[in-house]
Structures are given as C-alpha cells and as structure tokens.
Amino acid sequence: MINAFRAEWVPLLRRRFLLGTLGAVFACSVLGTVLTFLSVGHTDFDGDPVTAAWLSEPGGLVQGAQAVSILLGVVALSVVAAALAGDHGHGMLRNQLIAQPHRARLLAGKLLALAVFVGLVVAVATVVSAALAFPLAPVKGVSTAAWHSGAGLAALGTGFVNLYLGSLGYAAVGALAAIVLRGPASAIAVGIAYALPVEMLVSRIYHPARAWLPMQLMQEIATGGAAFATPYADALLRGCLYAAVMVAVALVYFRRRDVTS
C-alpha cells in the first residue's frame, strides 16, 4: 500500500495540476474571507446576522474559510474524481494493476494519498483565510485579540479539522462516482450534481432530511455544527458512516470489476 501511496504523488505533484488546484483554493479562500468581513452588519448566505463581535470571538479567524466550505468540498470531490477516474479513462489503470495486482492495496494507497492531498488543500485555504483575516479585521472594527489567544489557536485547529473532515466526505462521493462511472467528466458532473442541487432541493423541500442526507451532514461537520439543528456529534457519526460505506462500495467495485479498454 505504501508503494501505491508514494506512486500516487507523482501525478498529484505535477506542477500544472498543483498550481491549478492550489490557485483555485486560494481564490475561493480569498473570496470567502473578503465576503465574510464585508458582510459585517448584514446577513450571511443562510440569513444569519454577521457582526463584528461574532467575528471577534476565537472562532472568528476561520469563519472566512468555513464560508466557502462547500467550494472546498467541491474542489476535493473534483480532485479525487479526476484522479481516480482519470486512471480509468486514460487506460493507466491497466499498467498500475499489472505493477500492483493487489487491487485493495492499490486503491487504499491511492485514497490515502488523495486524502493527504485534500488535507493540503484545506490547510492552504485555512492559512490563506487566516492570513487575510488580520488585515481585514480593522476595516470592519473586528478585534483580533482573541485570535492570538490559546483559545483562538485551538479554534483555528478545530476549524481546520472540521473543514478537512467535511471535505473528505465530499471526496468520498468523488471516489465512489469515479470508480462506478470510470470517466472524469461524468464522475465530477454526477458527483457535484448530487452533492449540490439534488440534496439542496430535497433538504429545502423536506427539512428533516438535512439530518440524514450525506452532503448536508458533511456541511454540518465542516462548519463545526453551526449550519443546522443537527448536533455536531450526530452529524460526525452519520457522516463517517456514510463515508465508510461509500469507500467500502468503491472498494468492492474496484476489486471485482473487469478492467477493459
């Protein structure tokens, strides 16, 4: 598995892909942070008021990154789907399976590498958002004192972990779509279509579904339990279960399926 993990980094670290992905994340993070601070005195996307006092709390430092948690999730989904389905689509999987015939080990190594890569993406988003928050804070009268405290650093760490876990949930959807559909474009399209419009429509029509739909739960996890009424612990448990089931189904598909042209 460790060989598969190391091998997966070769395409992930190619310059164009890396710069493109991190550039997109950088842009998302800047957008989220600027909009969050510009929203002081107004309401956010969900209609909740955004105040300087709220942003001055220890957790205020990661609010910018959390505002774009959906976009980070979409990036994670797209990266994972493109990487896994690209192996199928370009026919590289044949070479890889000849080099590593243990399919479970191969997929596990790939998923592990992709999970670390998603962590890198979320870390960049968090760092960019936090760095931008400091110069933006005085503009809207937000105090940064609590951000420097131990509680502030803890909130920053917790925020990063939540964003990471939520993004991994999106990544699991991308992995499943890639293994089942085997084409990058279709995997990304179907994955995003399900994660965004389908679940949003269902949850808006039938509100209790928010507590059970996978992507809604991932959103709950990413924002640290601030999005919906579902308790964070419940959302985390259900979200982890969903992710585990998605990865397990992908693994079964991957092991049993014929690899043809």
Partner: protein, 396 residues
C-alpha cells in the same frame, strides 16, 4: 529452437475450426499436466470468456514454452486481447483454468512481479514526462525499495529502459508530445522495468517506422536470447515470421494452431505456378498434369500473385507439389508443345497461411474440373463463374 507443444500432437496441415479441434491436446494424466504447467511460461486449459451468449475466448488451450519468442496472431476480434487480459488478471475467465509462470491466473499477485506487459497500446499520464511515468510505475512495483540507494537505483533503472528503447534523449518530454511510435517505445520500456521473466506485448510495433520496427525486432530477439519468454501479439505477420520461433494462432476465440512456426509453414503445401505463353493452352496443360496424378488448379485471375513486373494477363496453372517437380513439369509442357512464359515455385509464407487458415481468403483458386466453359472453348475471363468473394484479387 523451441520444441512444439508436448501436450499436443504433431501438426500437419491446418484448417479452420474443423482441424482446430483435432489439434487440441489430449488430456493426459494429472502428473503430465502438472509438469506441463510448470514447464510452460503460459499454460491454459479450456480458458473461456463469455460476453452474454457470445464467447470471446472459447476453450483455449495455450502452451507457451519458457524461453520462447512466441507470436500470438489472429484477426481483429479473434480474442487475443481478451486472452491477454485474462492472463494479466485484468478480467476473470468465465470457465477454464490457466497458469502463468507456474502460478494460477486467479492469483496474479503471485506472478505479475515477474511479468512485464503492454496491452492495448501504451497508456500513460499525458501530463507527465515519459521518465516520470516510468518513475511512477517503478515506485508502484517497489523497485529500489529494497537495499540501499533506492531512489538512485530506481532512476538508474528508468534511464536504462529508456535507453534500451531509444528514448534516452526524449525521456523528459511530456507523454502527450510523443509521436505514436515514441509512445509505443515507452510502453515497451514500462514492460521492461521489472526485468521480467515473461514479457507480454500487444502489437508492440504499431506506429513504428521501418527502422523502429527493426530495432524492436532486434530488441525482442536479444531479450529472448537472454532467456526471457516473450509473448507478442501482432498483425505484422512478416515480423512474427521473422522473429518468432513459436506461434499461437486463434480465430473466433478458438485455437487454430500452436507450435513451431517452421512446423506450420512446412505443413503448408508447396506450389509451382506455370504460365503458358498462350492462354488457350492453360486448360490443356492443367488436364495433362492432372492426368499424371498431380493436384492442379487453374487460376483465372489476371496475374500471378506477387509476380514481379507488369501484369501478364495470363491464366496460371498451379500444381501442388514439391519444388523438385518443376523441371519435370517444364519438360512435360515442352513435350506437349506448350511453351511456358514463366515457371515459379512457391511456398506459402505465414501471412498467406494465416489468411487461409482464418478464412480470410479461402478459395480464390478454382479446380480445373470445375472450370466454366465459354462458347468459343477458350479460357473464361477473370471472375466468370466465381461468387463475389472468390472473384476478388489477392494472394492465394
């Protein structure tokens, strides 16, 4: 020289389907089968792969000896790639069993570390250089992870195989910028990475220029000479004939022949083509030769296959017999007052044999006794009396 399959009877002549069944090895005692399995680089019995009701591979009994340079030929859709995929663990057989390097194909992890393969064309990451693509596969295979100097050993091996296929100078170019021939070379380089005992290549010379084909031919010969088993599928039958000492020929998923290339060609009947100076003499000549007991055919097409020079527009009398008869036939014709415009001996090559055996060309010649008569008693013009499939030109 590689010996023919020990599990099968000696081959004489080959014909599609009907004779294929006769060439299937007789199941021997378990002890013999076990021995054959371990002696052979590839050994299958009843290997079958079905897609719904259609059988892509049908009861295939393969036996590729260790150390052989074996050609795997068959028309498009014959089941070659499906067979190779099963041997490489990419798809599962519907029935039958198989062993590669003595290990069951149901456990590819036991033998693929000794196998290098390029199947269905070279497929690599388009955004990575050739070198980085090979690097990824080398890491995946764990090359350089045991012992010291892992990374440098791995890079050295990648550089070696790039040089081996003539890509040393272009290794750092993106794969997407490679020509088809260069991609093909990279595919072969990837297959060579693990220093395999068995090399399986699917159409390795696709897209290569003549010089490239020659280089690959030489390379495969060298690899086989060093003890590597090379199993290569190809449509370039001239190449297969030149480089392979062992041959597996399939059609519609079924075995047509396996064994020595020389055995196959020796089993083909040699022919002598006689072209009378006057077309009117052709029938008389054919009848005369037939009367002495030699099988003879009269070809009404307008030219001798592969004849050098301009078209002669003459019927050809084809006698099935050894080259030694040529002088006798010449004397016989002269004795009957028939001047011959040309007399040429011909032994079918692999391409002709392949086309005949696979049914691509199966009856361009017409038996002398079945010749259609034309009112003036002369030889019928080309194509008369033949169905459309037979009236087309081409090799016999």
């Amino acid at each position: 020289m590689i010996s023919a399959s020990p599990a099968g009877p000696a081959r004489s002549r080959v014909e599609p389907t009907r004779r294929a069944a006769a060439h299937r090895p007789t199941p021997g005692p378990r002890r013999v089968a076990g021995s054959a399995r371990s002696d052979a680089a590839i050994w299958t019995r009843g290997l079958t792969r079905s897609h719904g009701t259609r059988r892509a591979v049908d009861q295939l009994d393969l036996q590729v000896p260790r150390g052989a340079l074996s050609g795997f030929v068959g028309p498009n859709g014959a089941g070659k790639s499906t067979t190779l995929r099963m041997l490489l663990g990419l798809i599962r057989p519907s029935a039958g069993r198989g062993y590669v390097l003595g290990q069951p194909i149901s456990r590819p992890d036991r033998y693929l570390h000794q196998v290098g393969a390029m199947i269905e064309g070279p497929t690599f990451h388009p955004g990575l250089s050739g070198r980085r693509n090979l690097d990824q596969l080398a890491i995946l295979r764990g090359l350089g992870t045991h012992g010291g100097g892992g990374r440098s050993r791995r890079r050295r091996r990648v550089a070696e195989v790039l040089d081996q296929v003539g890509l040393g100078d272009r290794g750092d170019d993106r794969f997407s910028a490679y020509s088809l021939g260069m991609k093909q070379r990279l595919g072969i380089a990837a297959a060579l990475l693990p220093r395999p005992s068995l090399l399986i290549l699917d159409e390795p010379t696709n897209g290569l220029d003549p010089a490239g084909i020659r280089e690959i031919r030489t390379l495969l010969g060298q690899l086989a000479a060093n003890g590597m088993t090379v199993f290569v599928s190809s449509h370039l039958l001239t190449e297969v004939e030149q480089i392979c000492d062992h041959l597996v020929m399939i059609n519609n998923g079924r075995m047509l022949f396996q064994g020595h290339v020389t055995d196959l060609l020796a089993a083909e009947d040699p022919r002598i083509h006689l072209v009378p100076e006057h077309g009117d003499d052709a029938r008389r000549l054919a009848t005369m030769i037939n009367n002495v007991g030699l099988p003879v055919e009269l070809d009404l097409r307008l030219d001798i296959p592969d004849a050098a020079g301009p078209s002669t527009h003459q019927p050809v009398v084809t006698v099935h017999g050894p080259e030694g008869l040529a002088a006798d036939l010449n004397r016989m014709a002269m004795g009957a007052g028939i001047a011959l415009r040309s007399l040429r001996t011909h032994r079918p090559n692999l391409e002709e044999t392949f086309l005949r055996v696979t049914g691509e060309i199966d009856g361009d010649l017409v038996r002398a006794e079945a010749l259609p008569r034309v009112p003036d008693g002369s030889v019928a013009p080309a194509g008369v009396g033949l169905d459309p499939a037979h009236s087309r030109g081409g090799a016999t």
